[in-house]
């Protein structure tokens, strides 16, 4: 891992066109501004990990999915959690 020391309003550049700038430094947190091309997705790590876990849990073999669809199909209306 590359480690940088940056001050307020200083930045690092990643590759061609990605910039991460320090916007605010608090006691327990740092506010960062990311400038990146439209095609580059930027996400909070914990959000990415949550959705990754949900995707991993949802993946199944096609036959199992067919059985699940058959089990769920007649009862489409839903209720919230």
């Amino acid at each position: 891992m590359l480690v940088f020391t940056r001050k307020l309003d200083e930045a690092i550049v990643i590759g061609d066109g990605v910039e991460v700038r320090v916007l605010r430094v608090g006691r327990d947190s740092v506010r960062l501004g990311v400038t990146a091309p439209m095609q580059v997705a930027v996400h909070r790590r914990e959000v990415y990990d949550q959705i990754k876990a949900a995707n991993l849990a949802a993946a199944a073999d096609p036959e199992a999915l067919g059985r699940l669809a058959a089990r769920l199909r007649p009862r489409s209306p839903v209720e919230s959690r």
Binding site: M38, I51, K52, N55, A58, L65, A69, L72, V78
Partner: protein, 134 residues
Amino acid sequence: MTTATQSFPPDAGAITFADGLPGFEACRHYVVMASPALEPFLCLQGLGDGAPSFLAIDPRLVVDSYPCAIRPTDRSRLDTPADRPLVWLAIVSPNAEGATVNLRAPLVINPETMRGVQLLDGDDAYPLDYRLQK
């Protein structure tokens, strides 16, 4: 309402997710399989060895008022102007009680370019595990 099933032409090719899906970053191409036996669900099948399969449903069939809203940055990743219709799919996850639907991070697909993204900054008002009633 036009559902996801109706939005893909019968000869639609593979959908490309440029970054893959979280957890399956290496699998970037998927095909949608629809059949009367699956309705109202669709099967999203990854292409390649070890590729995942998902059951998915149009989130508006789960929640009538589901807001199919997409940020301009995500829309640009789909290479589509603002006035073109998009296909929305929410991934269904089986569990012991039945199934849940990920309404927080839907898949959005441009049926014209067959590009897709999973919205990771979706509406916090909707959960990752919205329960389908048995």
